[in-house]
């Protein structure tokens, strides 16, 4: 659930953002029971459009619009350039490498003997 603050047209705001201005709203008030204080409007959710899954497109949430008197979410679809896609693919590769292993696997060692204690860095 998101909110629009009418006096400043600040969007999006969520429960925690509204609660910062209205600390009288308890943690138990959430979801359907979360009040809409004066000066705020709840935004009607809509299903985002489907985009391709090949990094070519991405969703953009635009500023909400009043549709039949109801403040309603608005989405558009952005298109990435080939350069942006290449940057993302490079970042994906780096992130996967970091996730799989932070360090390159070391060379095979002499595996005889027992464990050694950490030495001191003086």
């Amino acid at each position: 659930m998101s909110f629009l603050k009418l006096s400043t047209m600040q969007y999006p705001l969520f429960e925690g953002d509204v609660r910062l201005e209205h600390p009288e709203i308890t943690e138990c008030q959430t979801g359907d029971t979360f009040p809409c204080p004066e000066g705020f409007v709840k935004i009607k959710y809509v299903e985002p459009p489907t985009i391709d899954s090949n990094l070519n497109q991405y969703l953009i949430e635009e500023f909400p619009q009043q549709i039949d008197g109801v403040w309603t979410q608005v989405f558009s679809v952005g298109t990435r350039t080939a350069e942006e896609i290449a940057t993302i693919q490079s970042a994906i590769k780096m992130a996967q490498e970091q996730n799989n292993k932070f360090m390159p696997k070391p060379q095979v060692q002499n595996t005889s003997g027992s464990g050694s204690a950490p030495n001191v860095v003086a």
Partner: protein, 464 residues
Amino acid sequence: MPLLQTFGSDSSYAYGFNHIALSGTNFISYSGFSSYSYQNSFTSIAIDTSNNLVIVTGGANPSSSNEYGSFYVFTNAGVLNSQTYYADSAYSLYANYPGTIIKNGSNYVVLDQYFGSTSQENAGLIVYNSSGVFQSGKYAGPPAGTSQDFIDPRAIIQDGSGNFIVGGGYEQYNGGCCPFFYGYPYFTVFNSSYSVTSQYYITNAPQNSYPTTLAIKGNLYGFAPANNILFTITNTSTGAGNFRSYSGTSISPYIQWTLADSNYIYGTGRDSTYADYAIATQFNSSYSVQWTTYVLISNSFPQQNSSVLDSSSNIYSVYYDPRTGATASVTATIVKINSSGTLQWVRNLDFTAFTGATNLYISISDIKVDNVGNYYICGKIYYYLSGHFYYKALLCSFPTDGSKTGTYVDGSATFKYSSISATQVSKTLSFGSSTNNSITTVSRNGSISANSLSATATNNVVNF
């Protein structure tokens, strides 16, 4: 005014922390120049029961003799109390994953990828006191196979009996090629005296299905995002249990962090197709999903490293955009979702480096909450300037209510903490059946005894 804390003189260490004090005890702190990256990457945070200390570990680079793992002690106001460096011929302090430091009484236990001599890499537990002084260490090597096998320990949790359960991967050298190693999910149990009491790997799960995090609610749970699997270990001594798949409708989830409170189990992560979603879900021990929340952060490409629950079961998850910026700012994103699955706030921490810097990068590793309304994130930032790469460890504290947004300037470095555009999207997540997915394990042959790291280490402690 920023408080500059300076100590040390060796460029291989993180030193000279720049400290931006916010109001109250909150802060943004980052280290000075270092030509080495790993000890300048804060990995994991633990907080003591009185919130006086934040403990952060770095990692050591096994390929360089000039890099050291470090143990830092901060106050909850971000004042550095001490820093301890460790390294040895096997580069023992190599804590490379978030959530791998656990407070145990008056000590701290760090899960370590120990480069010992009985095999290449081991699951090691290193014990320090609250000042970062080495107390003891134990490690356990691969459970079977050749001397070229290795362990990739990813996660650690302490159960109610004081045992330390380690999860991760066991990579068994198969002598062939492409790949040379077969990856099994792997668990080792250390008792409260740090002796290994059981060790097993799972042979009937898909390859490389390593549990990346662990949680306990009666059973032991661990998500393995690589193949969309959730492990449930019902007997941690034997490895008995099951695994099952999870999936989503229209958006495929990639769940890598496992959490639990007294009522539910939680998973957090992102979408698997890089469609800009942060994801959290709550389910019960019957795998009945109570809610799933997808948060769309447009064109953010969120990578997740860590999540945490507070005492009210609010979930805080930290993401970062791994795309390096040329001269633009780089961004970490923190998402708070309450115990009902409702999005509470989304905050960006944008970092803009010094004039002329390029190749900016930020990576947030861990997030923790204290019991007085603050959360902490740690990680690293780096950039390229005047012919050098600069690596800086980063530690920040912000209120859990999302307040104290603003722009904070420290010299020519700028941090902006702000609300951003995001939206909660209705999607689902469900678990598959565990039919035919009972875990088949192979336990370590023969007796198991952890090798001791009987260090007589003194250390390099800098006190203030």
